[in-house]
C-alpha cells in the first residue's frame, strides 16, 4: 500500500513536470529563434555557473571538515610515507582540479550565446599543445618518481630481526600462526591438509615444533613484522587500514608484506578518544557472503608486554601432540631423524 502511494506520487510529479515542459515549449516556439536561444543560454548558463558554485562550496567545505577528521592516523613507518605522498598528490591534483573546473564553469557562463557576437575562429596552436603535453608529463614523472622511491622501500626484503607471522585467510576467518621461539615458521605441504591440520603443517619439520596459533595478532611497537600471507580456499586480502597494509591472500601463491608499527593500541585509543578502539584486520577482496565480517583484533603493545604475552603461548604441536601422534606414532622419531640425517 505504502509503495503504491509512493509510486502514485512519483508518477504525479512526473506528469506535472511534463506538463510544465510542454507549456514552456509552446510559449517559446512562438518567439524568434535567435532571441529564444539567447534567453535560454542566459538562464541556463547562469544555472550552470550556480551549480558549479554550489558544488565548489560543497567540495571545499567537506574537504575542510572531513580531510583531517576521516583519514586515520598512519600507524606504521611506511604509512607516514604514503600519507606524505597523498598530501603532495592532493595539492597538485587539487590545484589542477580547481583551475580547470573554474575555467570550465567560467567560460561556459562568460561565453554563453549572444546574438550579435561571433565566436573566435581558432582551430589550433601547436606550440600550446606541446606545452600542455610536456608540463603534465614532467609533473607526473615527479609524482611517480617520489612514489616509486617509496614503493621499492616498502617492498624491500624484510629486516632479519622481523617477527615472523603467518596469516591465512579462509571463508570467513583468519588463521594466525607465529614462528615461535626460533622465529621460523614450520613448512607446510598442501597434501597434508586435513580438518585437524587445515594449514597442512609438516610436523616432521623441526621448525614447526614451537609454532603457535593465536586468536589475535599481537605485535610489539617499533619492531618490524613480516607477515606471510596465504589463503586456503579463495582469494582474500590482508588489510590493516591504519597501518596502510594491504596484500592479497591467494590460494597456492604465498605473498608477504612487512611493516613497522609505530603507535600502540593504547596510544591510538587516546588519539581517537575512543577507549573501545582496537586495530582490526579486515578482508579486502570479495571472498563470498561473509566477506564483510572477517575480523581479527590486532594489538600493538610495548616490547615488555609482548615478551610477557609471548611467554604464555603454547606450542601448537605440543598442545595437539596426542592427536597428531594418534595419527602417526612414528612422527616424533621422524623429526629426530630428519634433524640428524647423518645417523641414517
Amino acid at each position: 500500500m505504502q509503495i503504491l502511494l509512493i509510486i502514485l506520487a512519483f508518477v504525479l510529479v512526473l506528469v506535472v513536470i511534463l506538463q510544465v515542459g510542454k507549456v514552456v515549449e509552446l510559449v517559446s516556439v512562438m518567439r524568434d529563434e535567435d532571441e529564444r536561444t539567447e534567453d535560454t543560454s542566459n538562464s541556463v548558463g547562469f544555472l550552470f555557473l550556480l551549480s558549479g558554485i554550489i558544488l565548489g562550496v560543497f567540495i571545499a567545505y567537506t574537504t575542510y571538515t572531513e580531510y583531517g577528521k576521516f583519514l586515520p592516523v598512519p600507524a606504521s613507518e611506511h604509512g607516514v610515507w604514503i600519507q606524505d605522498l597523498v598530501d603532495i598528490t592532493l595539492y597538485i591534483t587539487g590545484i589542477v582540479f580547481i583551475i580547470t573546473n573554474v575555467l570550465l564553469f567560467y567560460f561556459a557562463y562568460k561565453y554563453r550565446y549572444k546574438r550579435n557576437r561571433k565566436a573566435l575562429y581558432y582551430p589550433y596552436n601547436n606550440r600550446i599543445e606541446i606545452l600542455w603535453t610536456v608540463i603534465p608529463t614532467l609533473v607526473l614523472t615527479i609524482i611517480i618518481g617520489l612514489g616509486l622511491n617509496k614503493w621499492f622501500k616498502i617492498f624491500s626484503a624484510a629486516p632479519t630481526e622481523a617477527i615472523q607471522i603467518e596469516v591465512t585467510g579462509k571463508q570467513f576467518a583468519w588463521v594466525v600462526r607465529y614462528g615461535g621461539k626460533d622465529n621460523e615458521l614450520g613448512k607446510r605441504d598442501f597434501t597434508l591438509s586435513t580438518v585437524e591440520n587445515e594449514l597442512g603443517v609438516r610436523w616432521k619439520d623441526k621448525q614447526s615444533k614451537d609454532d603457535f596459533l593465536s586468536d589475535e595478532i599481537v605485535i610489539p611497537v617499533n619492531t618490524p613484522v613480516h607477515v606471510n600471507i596465504g589463503a586456503l580456499d579463495v582469494i582474500h586480502s590482508f588489510y590493516l587500514p591504519e597501518f596502510r597494509v594491504m596484500m592479497d591472500a591467494v590460494p597456492g601463491i604465498p605473498t608477504k608484506f612487512w611493516f613497522r608499527p609505530t603507535i600502540t593500541t593504547e596510544q591510538m585509543r587516546e588519539i581517537k578518544k575512543n577507549p573501545e578502539f582496537d586495530y582490526e584486520l579486515a578482508c579486502n577482496q570479495l571472498c563470498g557472503t561473509g566477506h564483510w565480517n572477517m575480523k581479527k583484533t590486532v594489538k600493538v603493545v610495548t616490547e615488555a608486554e609482548y615478551k610477557a604475552w609471548f611467554a604464555e603461548q603454547k606450542s601448537y604441536y605440543k598442545q595437539n601432540i596426542a592427536k597428531i601422534q594418534g595419527e602417526d606414532a612414528s612422527l616424533d622419531n621422524d623429526v629426530i631423524a630428519e634433524a640428524n640425517p647423518s645417523k641414517n
Binding site: 515542459g21 548558463g45 604514503i82 603534465p136 607526473l140 616509486l148
Partner: protein
C-alpha cells in the same frame, strides 16, 4: 570490391523508390538498416540501464539503513530479502550484476552500438554499414546474450555474485558461493555471445570507416565522433578476444576439472584435486581486456562531446589533430597499464613500477583532451542546448574522476586506496557518470535525426541539473570514505571500528542515489513522449552543423541520401570562419579563395 557492391545494392533499393514492401517485422525487428539497429541498441540499453540502476538503489538502501526492515521491498523482491533485510547473498549478487550490466550491456554495447551504428554511415557519407547482415547479427547476438543474463536473475541458486570482475577461485567453486553455480555458468555463456556480438560489430565499424567513406571524406576530414568510434572498435577488437579466452579457461576449470586458475584449494573440510594453476593469471587476462574496456566506454563519449562542444560554441574543435593523436595515445597506452588493477596481488615490485609509470603516462593524453575542450569553448558563442550542458557536465566529471586516477596510478598510494570506496568514486565519476553524460548529450543532440522530433528542453534541463549535482553528491563523498579506509563490497560496515563511523556519509550517498535514479524517469518519459508527440523537426539542419548527417532528409530512409552521395570538400569544423555570412560551412561546400586565404593566414 565488396564495398561498392553494397553501395550499389543500397542504391538499387533507393532506385526502387524506397517503397518495396516493408512489414512491421522487416522494418522494426529484423531490420538491416544501420539507423534502426542503432535505435534497437538504444532501446535495449535503456531497459538494461533501468534494471542496473534499480539494483544499485536496492543495495544502497541496504548500506544506508542496515538495521531497518523493508517489508514492502520484501513483497516485491521476495527472493532477495529475509525478514525485511536484504540477504548478503542478494547483496553480492546485486553488486555483481549492477557492474556487469552497466559496464558491458549499457556503456559498451549500447553506447557504441547506438552511436557507431547510427552515426558512422551518416557522418562518412555511406548508405549503410559494410555488412548490414553482420550488423543485424551483432544486435541479435546481443539480445541473446541479454536474455541469458536476464534469465539468471530468476535462478533459485541466485545470480553470479563474485563481482563484475569474476575472480576465480570464488567464481568457479559453487562450494564457495552459491552464485558460482548456475548463475555463473549463465554469466559466462551470456558473455560468450556478448563478445561475439562485439567482435562482429567492431569488424563492421572498422571496415565501414576504412572503405565506405564518400568522395572527399579523407580520414583527416572525419568528425571526431567517427574517429572516436573507430578507435573504440579497434580497442574492442584487440581486447575482447583475450576476455574470451580467459572465460573459456574458466569454463574448463569449472566444468571439466582442469586447473588453469586453481591450485591448493582446501574448502569445506576437503582438499580439492586442483594443482599447478594460477589464480592471478586470470586477473592478468581479465584486466588486459578490463582496462581497455574502460576506454571502450569513454572514447565514444569523448567523440560525441568534442563534436557537440564545437557545434554549440560555434567554434572549431581546438586542436583537431591533437585530439586524434591523444585518442591514439590513449589506445596504445591503454594496452600497457592493465596491471595497475593488481598492484597488491603480490606481483613483482619491479613489474608494478613499470605499470605505475605507464599508468601515469596515460593521464597525459587525457589531460590534453581536457585542455583542448576548455580552449574549444573559450571565446565561443555557446548555445546552451541540453546536449551542450551535458557535454560541459561531462568535462567536469572527467576532470574530477581523471585526477583521482593519478592518486590510484601511483602504486604506493594504491596500497592504501586499492579496493576502497576511493576506487568506486574514481571510476563512477570518470566512467560511470561521464559516459552516461556523453550518451545523454548524444541522444538529445541526434534525437531529431533519429525520430524527426525534438526532445522537450525544459525536461532536459531539469534532468541535467538533478543528475549533475546528484552525481557529485553520490560519488564525491566516496573519496573521503576510501581515504578513511572503508572497503568496497562490504554488506555492512558496522562490524569494524575503522569503518563504522561514516554513517552520515553513507546516508547522503544513498539518498542522492535514490533521487538521481528517480530523476532518470524524467528522461525516459521525455524520450518516449517526444518520440510520439514531440515538437516536429522542420529544418534539415536544426543545430546548424557541418557534418553530413544533416544533409539527409529529415527522416532518412534506408540508404540515407535520396540522390547521389554527397561529396566532401572540407573538414567538419568550419564554424565562425568568416566575419560575413552564416557561422557554419557544411562539409559539402567547396573551398573558396577566401578559405585558402584564411588557411594560409593561420599557418603564420
Amino acid at each position: 570490391m565488396v564495398t561498392s557492391a553494397t553501395g550499389e545494392h543500397a542504391l538499387s533499393m533507393i532506385g526502387a523508390g524506397g517503397h518495396h514492401k516493408e512489414t512491421f517485422i522487416t522494418k522494426y525487428i529484423f531490420s538491416t538498416d544501420h539507423k534502426m539497429i542503432g535505435k534497437q541498441f538504444l532501446f535495449t540499453g535503456m531497459a538494461w540501464a533501468v534494471i542496473g540502476g534499480l539494483f544499485s538503489v536496492l543495495f544502497r538502501v541496504q548500506l544506508a539503513w542496515p538495521d531497518e526492515t523493508f517489508p514492502f521491498l520484501e513483497q516485491i523482491f521476495s527472493n532477495w530479502f529475509d525478514e525485511g533485510h536484504m540477504t548478503p547473498e542478494a547483496y553480492y549478487a546485486l553488486v555483481t550484476m549492477h557492474g556487469t550490466i552497466m559496464v558491458f550491456f549499457v556503456l559498451t554495447a549500447s553506447l557504441s552500438g547506438t552511436f557507431a551504428n547510427f552515426l558512422i554511415p551518416l557522418q562518412i557519407g555511406a548508405r549503410d554499414m559494410a555488412s548490414p547482415i553482420m550488423n543485424a547479427l551483432s544486435y541479435w547476438l546481443f539480445v541473446l546474450s541479454s536474455l541469458i543474463m536476464l534469465a539468471s536473475i530468476f535462478l533459485p541458486t541466485g545470480m553470479a555474485s563474485a563481482g563484475w570482475t569474476i575472480y576465480p577461485p570464488l567464481s568457479i567453486l559453487p562450494q564457495a558461493s552459491s552464485g558460482s553455480g548456475m548463475g555463473m555458468t549463465l554469466w559466462l555463456v551470456s558473455m560468450v555471445f556478448f563478445i561475439a556480438s562485439q567482435l562482429l560489430a567492431g569488424i563492421n565499424y572498422i571496415s565501414t570507416v576504412l572503405n565506405l567513406r564518400t568522395k572527399g571524406m579523407l580520414m583527416t576530414r572525419m568528425p571526431l565522433t567517427v574517429w572516436a568510434l573507430f578507435f573504440t572498435a579497434v580497442v574492442g577488437l584487440l581486447s575482447f578476444p583475450v576476455l574470451f579466452s580467459a572465460a573459456v579457461l574458466l569454463v574448463f576449470d569449472k566444468g571439466l576439472g582442469t586447473s588453469f586458475y586453481l591450485s591448493d584449494i582446501f574448502i569445506g573440510g576437503k582438499a580439492l584435486g586442483y594443482s599447478g594453476g594460477n589464480a592471478i593469471l586470470f586477473q592478468h587476462l581479465f584486466w588486459f581486456l578490463g582496462h581497455p574496456e574502460v576506454y571502450i566506454v569513454i572514447l565514444p563519449a569523448m567523440g560525441i562531446v568534442s563534436e557537440i562542444l564545437s557545434i554549440s560554441s560555434r567554434k572549431p574543435v581546438f586542436g583537431y589533430k591533437a585530439m586524434i593523436l591523444s585518442l591514439l595515445g590513449i589506445v596504445v597506452l591503454s594496452f600497457l597499464v592493465w596491471a595497475h588493477h593488481m598492484f597488491v596481488t603480490g606481483m613483482n615490485p619491479f613489474l608494478g613500477s613499470v605499470f605505475a609509470l605507464f599508468t601515469l603516462l596515460i593521464a597525459v593524453p587525457s589531460s590534453v583532451k581536457v585542455f583542448n575542450w576548455l580552449t574549444t569553448i573559450w571565446r565561443g558563442n555557446i548555445k546552451m542546448t541540453v546536449a551542450a550542458v551535458f557535454s560541459l557536465g561531462f568535462v567536469s566529471m572527467f576532470i574530477s574522476g581523471g585526477l583521482t586516477g593519478i592518486w590510484l596510478g601511483n602504486a604506493t598510494v594504491d596500497i592504501q586506496l586499492h579496493d576502497t570506496y576511493f576506487v568506486i568514486g574514481h571510476f563512477h565519476l570518470v566512467m560511470g557518470v561521464a559516459a552516461f553524460f556523453g550518451m545523454f548529450a548524444g541522444i538529445y543532440h541526434w534525437f531529431p535525426k533519429m525520430f524527426g522530433r525534438f526532445m522537450n528542453e525544459t525536461l532536459g534541463y531539469i534532468h541535467f541539473f538533478i543528475t549533475f549535482i546528484g552525481g557529485y553528491l553520490i560519488f564525491w563523498p566516496m573519496h573521503y570514505l576510501g581515504m578513511s579506509g572503508v572497503p568496497r563490497r562490504y554488506y555492512d560496515f558496522n562490524e569494524f571500528h575503522a569503518f563504522n563511523e561514516y554513517h552520515d556519509m553513507n546516508l547522503l550517498i544513498s539518498v542522492s542515489a535514490i533521487v538521481v535514479f528517480a530523476a532518470q524517469f524524467i528522461f525516459v518519459i521525455n524520450f518516449f513522449y517526444s518520440m510520439k508527440k514531440g515538437r516536429k523537426s522542420t529544418e534539415l539542419n536544426p543545430w546548424k552543423a557541418n557534418t553530413l548527417e544533416w544533409t539527409t532528409p529529415i527522416e532518412p530512409g534506408h540508404g540515407n541520401w535520396l540522390g547521389e552521395l554527397p561529396t566532401v570538400y572540407r573538414w567538419p569544423y568550419d564554424y565562425s570562419k568568416f566575419e560575413e555570412g552564416p557561422d557554419f560551412i557544411p562539409q559539402t561546400v567547396p573551398l573558396t579563395e577566401a578559405d585558402i586565404e584564411s588557411d594560409k593566414r593561420l599557418l603564420h
